[in-house]
Structures are given as C-alpha cells and as structure tokens.
Symmetry: C2
Subunit: 184 residues, 2 copies
DNA sequence: GTCTATACCGTGATAGAC
DNA sequence: GTCTATCACGGTATAGAC
C-alpha cells in the first residue's frame, strides 16, 4: 500500500539527486544513465522505467522554481542581484548548476536558460527607468551570468579566492552605472 | 609531388572548416566525425587518418591566436575591451566560438578557456591600479564573457536587437567604474 | 602514400523474461 | 515490478584497395 509508494518515492529521490549531481558536474552528454544508476544504487533500466528517457530525467533534474524577485527601486534591484550572486556562490541549487552547465550545448537546457534569463531581464527592466531599460536589464543580467559562470563553472582562481563581499563591493558601482541612465 | 601535398592541404582545410563550423554550432559531444566528414565530402576514416582522434581534431579546430592587447591606461583598456566585443559580435572567429561553445562541458575546452581568460585577466590587471587589481580585472573579463555568451551563444533577443554602439555606450561607464578604484 | 570498408566497444532505448 | 537481451548509433582501430 503506502509502503510501496513510500519506497518508490525514496528511490526516485535518490535517482534524482544522483542525476542532478552528475548533470551539474559533467553536463548532459557526458552523464550516462548507467552512471546515474550506479550512483543511486539501482538498475539502469529502473531509471528508464521511472523517468522514461534520459531527456525526461534531465528535465526533472533541472526544474527550478524561478525566484520571486519583489519590486523596488533601481538600487534595491542592484542589491538583490548582488544577493542572488551570493546565493549562487554558496549552495546554488544543484538543479540550477545542472541547467547552466549544459545551456551552451544542450537544446533544452538552452531553452530553459533563455526562459529564465528572459524572465529576469523583464523583471529587472521594470525596475529601471529610461527608454533602453530592456537593453540595460539584459546587460545587467548577462553580467551576473558571466560572473556566475566564471566563478561556479569555470572556477577561475581570481574569483574563487575573493570573498563574496569583495565581489559585491566592486560590482555594485558598475551595476548602478547601468541602472541609472543619467549616470553616463 | 607538390600536387599531392597541395591536394592534401586543401582537403585538410575543408575538414578543419567543417569541423569548426559544427563544433561552434553543436559543441564537442554532438559533433560526430561522420557529420564532419560528410560536410567536408570525405570519408569518415580519412578524418581520423589526418587528425588522429576526435579530440585532436577539436584541438586543431579551436586553436586561437591570443589577441596582442597592447599597453595603455585604464580608459584605453576599457575601449579595447569594448572593441573586442564588437569584433566578437561581427565575425568572431569560428574557432573561438567553438571553444566557448564547449567550455562548460568539455574538459579540454574548459582548460583552454581558463588559459585564455587567465591571460586576459593578467593583462587587464596590469593596466589598472589598486591592490585588488586582479579581482577587478577578473570581473571585467567575466563581464565581457557574460555579454558575449548571452549574445553569441544564447542569442538573447534583447542583445541581438541592440547595436554594438548601444551596448558599448551602456557598458562603458560600468567598466570604467571597475577600472577606477577611487570611483567607489 | 591516400583513401575506403569493416569490425569492436560503449551508450540510449526497447521488448520481453523472471 | 526488476532485470536481461537486443538493436541502432557513434568513436575508434585495423586491414586492405587503389
């Protein structure tokens, strides 16, 4: 009865955790169903049984709830962006890392990344003034993307050695310069 | 005699061009030797014959001469970075795109990307003052990386629709804010 | 010395056995 | 409800054709 379902849920969870870890570390292509199964201590065919295909497993693993990102003025916005960076530096959810890891080489991860970024660009654009708010928002978003990629995925020493506070301190005036059109 | 060598060089060139194109579009994993051979109109095994392995073909395809990046003060530096962005927007060499496309998922591309970025960080760091020049240089470099990735690889609409001049205009004060420590 | 045909191994996927 | 057998495809090595 529920015991069966319970057991199944735990197994599914183990598979998903293993998949997230491997997808985040290796990307979609280099992650094999067999490796996921081994890490989760199940039979490879069981993974297929539960999730249907490698693609579906990936979709389940990278599903990420978009951050709420409440309203505020331009400076609040900058602080929120810097804060999300801090979050990213610490224990950014494995699912986000998995999505980012594959966003340049896997079509679905790319689509997912575009959706998340477009959403953020839209939200950021609403908080800053000026006719070119969308472009400014896009640049602020891609700046955060670049720093995150450099730090989390490429693991550049210069960023790894720095504290989150130092990074925020240096990035803050740059983001503000973009958020305030008159500052040109 | 030379005719043979000539013919061979042309064939090798065709293979390399096809490989660059496919690696840039699809990344390392999704690019198949067979597809490269078909695009270059040769037999798949010939690709192996010439280049040894898919890995070696990739190495040959992504080899990129690092830009000279002459000396100058901090503002000159900002302009050079913005200019290289312009170059990237236009016809950034396929080899660079191929390298960037796979830098998150292929170990050798990652190593190559780290080498290129480290080099640029070092050079940028020499042109700006302050004790945290290295961190500032790293952030400027990753900012350019993020914008390039967003534009060239993720093809975000907001960046695609903008002119290079508009992007440079908005990015300029942000980069200057990072290049000038006193501006905090 | 160039090029082609073929075979082997690992991976995703399917069907069916226990 | 699990696992085994099998297939198709891609990277790779080898042998041999021209």
């Amino acid at each position: 009865m529920t015991e069966r379902a319970e057991r199944r849920r735990r197994t599914e969870r183990r598979i998903l955790d293993a998949a997230r870890q491997l997808f985040a570390d290796l990307g979609f292509e280099r992650t094999t169903i067999r490796a996921v199964a081994k890490a989760a201590e199940v039979d490879p065919a069981l993974v297929m049984q539960y999730f249907g295909s490698k693609q579906d497993l990936f979709s389940a693993a990278v599903t990420v709830a978009p951050a709420p990102m409440a309203q505020g003025d331009a400076d609040d916005l900058v602080e929120r962006l810097l804060g999300s960076l801090g979050l990213k530096m610490g224990e950014l959810p494995q699912s986000s890392l998995a999505m980012m890891r594959s966003m340049l080489t896997h079509p679905e991860a790319a689509a997912s990344a575009r959706a998340v970024l477009s959403r953020q660009i839209h939200q950021v654009g609403e908080s800053i003034p000026g006719g070119d708010a969308r472009l400014r928002a896009a640049l602020m978003t891609t700046i955060m993307l670049g720093v995150t990629v450099g730090h989390q995925l490429l693991e550049l020493d210069e960023l790894r050695e720095a504290s989150q506070a130092d990074i925020a301190r240096i990035l803050r005036p740059a983001l503000r310069a973009i958020a305030h059109p008159q500052a040109e």
